[in-house]
């Protein structure tokens, strides 16, 4: 069970009070009826799923009931930070001991 800091209640509460709500910072296209099938699928079905830092939404359902965002390391399950909905992705470069998803393995084309 995770301990989660709600940025609205400003308190650490047990996971049981929260609902996970998927990847954060996905924006629903405003012209959703006009975009291509590929663009719709990219928004609706495709996900980052990183082994490392994930940006995700949570809802403090059995508390203030508000949605907020979190950055969490999916290897250790440690939260790096939580922040209010609408705030930009925090810049986490330099945070200690993090599993940033490795891009280094790529080579060739």
């Amino acid at each position: 069970m995770l301990l989660i800091h709600c940025p609205y209640c400003e308190e650490e509460r047990p996971e049981m009070e929260f609902r996970h709500a998927g990847e954060a910072h996905l924006e629903r296209p405003k012209n959703i009826a006009e975009i291509s099938d590929e663009a719709f699928a990219a928004y609706f079905f495709y996900r980052d799923n990183p082994k490392g830092v994930v940006f995700e939404r949570w809802r403090h359902l059995h508390g203030c009931a508000r949605f907020f965002n979190a950055a969490r390391d999916t290897v250790s399950d440690k939260f790096l930070t939580t922040y209010k909905a609408g705030q930009p992705k925090p810049d986490l470069v330099g945070a200690a001991n993090m599993n940033i998803p490795a891009k280094s393995g790529k080579s060739g084309k």
Partner: protein
């Protein structure tokens, strides 16, 4: 390969068991292979086996970052069944059940396939309607599945509590008699031994860290913890780690990885005759041949690669087990563990070519792919060998998420399966 038989057992017993030898060889990686399979779980090893057996391709390496069968193959609760709703699913999962029936003979390895029956409990009107719909759909597809009253369910599984005072009383059940279990480790070992015998290199402790591509974008090999290894074709069969490996080839996947837990009890005398699943109260149970109760729980709500899940998840499952089978309330649990399962939006797998030439992927089996191991390897081998899907897996593309032609077992079952 030395064949296993009753005669061999007697002979070795007389010689002090000194002549068995290694089950598979552990060669050094070559510079290049015709096909590289990433991931030595059941699905990857089965793919290599059928490539060698049915398509005559034997210059193959199966690369595994840990030990073979150490992923979900060695962590699952081994439930086998094929009573899925849609035609595409019935085709795929029943193909696997048919292969299970003769797998021990085919591999010359006892995988302990035990068709003891899988019973799925209905606890509310919605369950009853959904299961009956499944039964009718299954029958049209030639897949056995029958409806049982609560009394008939109890007759089939005497420990079951069908009292009306249960928190969620049993309103009936769907029974697939050809369903059952198999021994997970033996499946990995049996495929590894039979593949190795046909010349396949099974290379453990070899992590794939990159996918190399040539001038026109096609795959030319993989970077690994043991250096670059060339390949004309690469098949990714890495379960929870699929997104990570596909990202090395710049392919984004419609997948999310979640922890899924299971646990076993202390071993006891045979007392539980079949497999019982309840999606509604979230409990999956059978008894292994060692005597342990094997119990499956649900996924955690968040994505993770940690291979551990929350305590409240297994507690919730044990609550349900105690309610359904009061005779287990004082049973001690021995071990619990987690695996990382890769889940697609429609809860059906992807077994397909990818936008990258020479790169193939078999993933998205989520919480329920063990049952499909032989069928999955069989059709994936066909897909790699012919650069074209088998009739059975034509619908299991990545592009179905663009066209909307889903195989929506998620809506059909609404739960882990």
């Amino acid at each position: 390969m030395r064949r296993y038989s009753g005669f061999a057992l007697v002979r070795e017993a007389m010689r002090g068991h000194k002549g068995w030898g290694q089950q598979w060889s552990s060669p050094e990686p070559k510079k290049e292979y015709d096909v590289i399979i990433v991931g030595a779980g059941g699905h990857g090893l089965a793919t290599a086996y059928y490539l060698a057996k049915e398509h005559g391709i034997t210059n193959i390496a199966v690369l595994e970052k840990g030990w073979l069968g150490g992923g979900n193959t060695g962590r699952n609760t081994t439930i086998i069944r094929s009573n899925y709703l849609y035609d595409e699913s019935a085709g795929l999962y029943d193909h696997a059940v048919k292969l299970w029936e003769n797998l021990s003979q085919d591999l010359n390895y006892n995988v302990m396939y035990s068709p003891r029956g899988v019973m799925m409990l209905a606890h509310n009107v919605h369950d009853v309607q959904v299961f009956k719909r499944h039964i009718h759909a299954n029958r049209l597809n030639g897949v056995d599945n029958e409806w049982l009253t609560p009394e008939a369910a109890k007759e089939y599984c005497p420990p079951l509590n069908i009292s009306q005072s249960a928190r969620y009383p049993v309103m009936g059940a769907a029974l697939q008699r050809r369903g059952g279990t198999a021994r997970h480790d033996a499946v990995a070992w049996g495929y590894a031994r039979a593949a190795s015998d046909r010349g396949v290199h099974v290379i453990q402790n070899c992590e794939v860290t990159g996918v190399r591509r040539g001038g026109n974008g096609q795959v030319t090999g993989v970077e690994t913890s043991r250096g670059f290894i060339g390949a004309k074709k690469v098949g990714v069969v890495a379960a929870g780690h699929t997104s990570v490996i596909m990202e090395m080839a710049d392919v984004r996947m419609p997948l999310e990885s979640f922890p899924l837990q299971a646990l076993v009890s202390e071993p006891v005398k045979p007392c539980f005759p079949c497999v019982v699943m309840s999606n509604t109260v979230h409990a999956y149970i059978s008894q292994s041949d060692k005597g342990e109760l094997v119990i499956g729980a649900g996924t955690d709500q968040y994505t993770s690669y940690s291979q551990t899940g929350g305590l409240h998840i297994i507690q919730h499952t044990l609550d349900a087990i105690c309610e359904m089978f009061p005779m287990f309330t004082r049973m001690k649990m021995l071990r619990s563990w987690g695996g990382i399962v890769d889940v697609t939006p429609d809860r059906s797998p992807i077994i397909a070519k990818t936008p990258v030439s020479g790169l193939y992927v078999n993933c998205g089996w989520g919480t329920g792919g063990f049952k499909a191991t032989p069928g999955s390897g069989h059709v994936f081998a066909h897909t790699i060998a012919n650069d074209n899907p088998h009739r059975i897996n034509t619908a299991y593309t990545i592009e179905r998420f663009n066209s909307g032609r889903l195989i929506d077992e998620a809506a059909a079952a609404a739960v882990a399966h």
